[in-house]
Amino acid sequence: MDPLKVLLVDDEKEFVTTLAERLELRGFQVLIATDGEEALRFFDTDLPQVVVLDLMMPGLSGMEVLKRMKAIDFKIPVILLTGHGATKDGIRGMQLGAFDYLMKPIDINELISKLDDAVKSVP
């Protein structure tokens, strides 16, 4: 079975690289983007199977990025990371088509189980 290709989008470089490393240790193929524009560029070149997207980013907001991703590929599952505003933003994101949301700091095992669920949800 091919490794699951995950795109991590977060402006906190330290966070996103470390998380990427941990996921790779667990057998995921990880793409990293530190802003929305960069993330969207992967959709032209190297389409991920699942996206983990931080909502609080400078430049393009997470919510905006989510809309654009959904516009490009309606079926792509997106898991949102919320910093503050907590559930309210999470629920709004899900209305926009996100698969689920997690609050930072995240538990790696919880993230992995959500990633699995997300991929399985795609027919």
């Binding site: 330290e14 470390t18 998380l19 910093g83 503050h84 609050m103 700091p105 995240i106």
Partner: protein, 455 residues
């Protein structure tokens, strides 16, 4: 003789003092009066009125004699004896009141008619009286009964009698005294009324002012509290935002360290490193709990209302805590009103409220303690839920600060936000919370919730 009412007898006497004719009860015909003093007086003065005397029949009499000259130059004397009860009748007709007395005395001070207070006819008049001739005078006297009397003396000019009229001074002044005491009474009543009204008014005004002060104080405190809560809310959001990202990084770094250690074959002190990194991760988790609660606290500024059954909601919340209660053998009894009206409120926030209060109750009771949950409809607008525990209770000091953010008695275990959030929510939902507590006896939280939301 009867038609002459009071005449006892009547007789004619010639100038030699011989009784010429006589009508009356005695045999006086032919009797010689020439040697008697009254006869000589009437011959000189033309008339004579005697003092009262007790006659042969032992009742008071007055004798009157009048001299008349005939045309032939002779003269005759008409003598009559009068029963003095006539005088009594005249005095009686004066209609004297109870405290007054009127009678006649002669110039020697002998009572000529009976007196109400000073004796019978012919008794000695007990008080001194003015002698000589004078017009009517009034004097003040103290009588033998020691009463202050006003006494009026009116001597008759041709007769030896003095008319005496006595009246008790107090009786005389009685109308004045009555009027005065009436006025005093009215005055006193007025003064008392005025004082009462003034006191009542002052009292009311003071009470109003005090009430207003208290209300203002309360409102001020509430505003302050709300203000505190909302600034805490903003601060919380800021802190959560700023702290959460570095926290996430620490979490991932430490996680990676853990992963790496786990993926490395056994090396020196591996267990120690794992233990250390696990401790870091646990601390991160504790921080996470705090930031998430802070976020939750900040978030609770918006509400979504729905119609819900408070009983159901409490039972749901209790579901989360049943395990702990079971494990610690805590007796949870419920007295819920069966047809408790549904209320308009925010489900998730109310869940938070009851979760917080029930968690506190569980923390307060010993193992095998008791928690009683009751609900009832208070009135048309309000339903009430109370949660009573028989736990440790709190001091007055604790009770006063219990709803303040960051106030905690649980030291490291609590954030001090639970009851502050609870209070904020209940207030926002238009309700109120009341706490009754006693150290060693337990605590009762009573939550009042409106049935309908205003506006």
């Amino acid at each position: 003789m009867d038609e002459y009412c009071c005449l006892v007898d009547l007789g004619l006497i010639n100038k030699k003092g011989i009784q010429l004719s006589y009508v009356g009860p005695y045999e006086f015909l032919g009797k010689n009066y020439s040697k008697q003093s009254w006869f000589q007086e009437v011959v000189v003065k033309g008339n004579y009125i005697s003092d009262v005397f007790m006659g042969y029949r032992q009742f008071p009499h007055v004798a009157i004699a009048v001299l008349r000259r005939t045309e032939e130059g002779r003269y005759l004397i008409l003598r009559a004896t009068i029963d003095t009860s006539k005088f009594d009748n005249i005095i009686a007709s004066m209609q004297l009141d109870q405290e007054s007395d009127a009678f006649l005395i002669n110039r020697e001070g002998i009572l000529q008619t009976p007196s109400r207070f000073y004796g019978k006819t012919l008794d000695k008049y007990p008080m001194s009286f003015p002698r000589g001739n004078y017009g009517p005078i009034v004097v003040e006297e103290v009588d033998p009964q020691n009463r202050k009397m006003l006494v009026a003396y009116a001597p008759f000019t041709k007769i030896n009698y003095i008319m005496v009229l006595t009246k008790q001074r107090s009786a005389l002044l009685k109308p004045w005294y009555t009027l005065r005491s009436k006025m005093l009474f009215i005055f006193a009543i007025s003064v008392v009324t005025i004082i009462l009204v003034v006191f009542k008014l002052t009292d009311t005004v003071v009470k109003r002012v005090k009430e207003a002060d208290e209300k203002r104080e309360l409102a001020y405190r509430e505003v302050q509290h709300t203000h505190k809560l909302s600034s805490i809310g903003r601060l919380a959001a800021g802190v959560a935002h700023e702290v959460n990202n570095p926290l996430a990084i620490i979490n991932e770094k430490a996680g990676l360290v853990k992963d790496l250690i786990e993926h490395t074959p056994k090396f020196e002190k591996k267990e120690k490193y794992l233990e250390l990194v696990e401790s870091v991760l646990q601390s991160v988790n504790r921080c996470k709990t705090i930031t998430h609660r802070l976020l939750g606290f900040a978030k609770r500024m918006e509400v979504e209302f729905e119609n819900l059954d408070l009983n159901d909601l409490i039972k749901e919340v209790l579901g989360f805590l049943e395990k702990e209660a079971l494990y610690r053998n805590i007796d949870i009894s419920m007295h819920m009103e069966n047809d408790l009206p549904w209320i308009d409120s925010d489900r998730s926030q109310l869940q938070q409220v009851f979760l917080n209060i029930l968690t506190n109750a569980l923390a307060a009771v010993e193992d095998e303690g008791r928690i009683t949950i009751s609900t009832w409809g208070k009135d048309q607008e309000t339903v009430v839920a109370s949660i009573q525990d028989n736990g440790s209770g709190m001091s007055e000091e604790t009770r006063r600060h219990i709803f303040e953010p960051f106030f905690t008695t649980k030291k490291e275990k609590g954030t001090g936000l639970g009851l502050s959030i609870t209070y904020g929510i209940v207030k926002k939902l238009g309700g109120d919370i009341d706490i009754k507590t006693k150290v060693g006896e337990g605590t009762t939280f009573t939550i009042f919730l409106p049935k309908k939301q205003k506006g």
